[in-house]
Symmetry: C2
Subunit: 175 residues, 2 copies
């Protein structure tokens, strides 16, 4: 096991800044391209990350630390963000940064002792899960979606790279 | 085809800043973890990107625009960076940013007319390749390695996420 609160927070606090650096000033063409019908573009992935800050990570951690396994987490609606009319990109980048900053503070307030990381809650599909697993998942969820954003953007140039496609793993059929 | 110089440059100029945002202040644990023997850690991927700025993209573009298909590109040594003793991370981030900035200027000087994008050169493995394909590949090469960095970092928490691994595509066997 490699998890530590300090190193998890180090990644969590960087993600909004990474997206801000990548997205700000970028043309819409990069932000609205997707991988076909029913797939998300980079802008929609940002909305999904915002939704997670609002209704997934901290509420679930709170349930684990206060209620234990008595009550399962409500299902997280992984498509909720698709129903919102999108605000301007810069507003959504700021919203993500604000929510993430607030949530890192809440995380630090909720977890004051190492031993709390072993507390468990009830996942509706997985059964018993630990606080540390939830927080590690929050980190890797960021990475999954950073990876998705980069892959979706790269896909725009699938034909433009010509024969080099053979060397570019991000353009290979994805996981 | 989706390629345009302006949009390609928009991505190329962001990559060093994205890496700077992600890496600066991050603990070594995130930067030196890898996917097993013979695989690269995040820090080594940065070195590979630096090597590309020195000996791959602009020299090859220059060959295409000045020499055409008469002489094949020299092979790009994709492992050259592994032989260098690593300078401090902050120095290497600055070096990448400086080299990339200089190379974007050279790119803009070399390609003055849309028609030059159709010029061809001789790739040692692929045969005839176009200038536009080389530049598009430069962009997607950045994305391939951003994706790799994120995947390698995420892999550190493979066991820590517990059952959530099933939902985290970045932890699935990779391409």
């Amino acid at each position: 096991m490699n998890f530590s609160m300090e190193e998890a927070i180090a990644v969590l606090e960087r993600t909004p800044k990474v997206l801000e650096t990548l997205f700000t000033g970028l043309s819409d063409a990069w932000l609205v391209c997707n991988e076909g019908e029913g797939t998300w573009n980079a802008s929609q992935v940002l909305d999904h990350l915002i939704e997670g800050e609002k209704s997934n990570w901290i509420p679930r951690l709170d349930m684990i630390l206060s209620g234990g396994e008595g009550k399962p987490f409500p299902e997280f609606d992984r498509f909720a963000h698709l129903n919102h009319a999108a605000a301007p990109l810069s507003d959504r980048l700021s919203e993500f940064k604000k929510l993430r900053g607030d949530n890192i503070l809440k995380l630090q307030q909720l977890v004051q002792h190492e031993s709390q990381l072993e507390c468990t809650g009830m996942h509706p599909a997985f059964g018993s899960v630990k606080a540390s697993e939830l927080i590690a998942t929050w980190v890797v969820h960021d990475m999954t979606h950073l990876s998705q954003i980069v892959r979706v953007m790269a896909g725009r140039y699938r034909e433009d790279v010509g024969p080099w496609i053979a060397f570019l793993s991000v353009l290979q059929p994805h996981r």
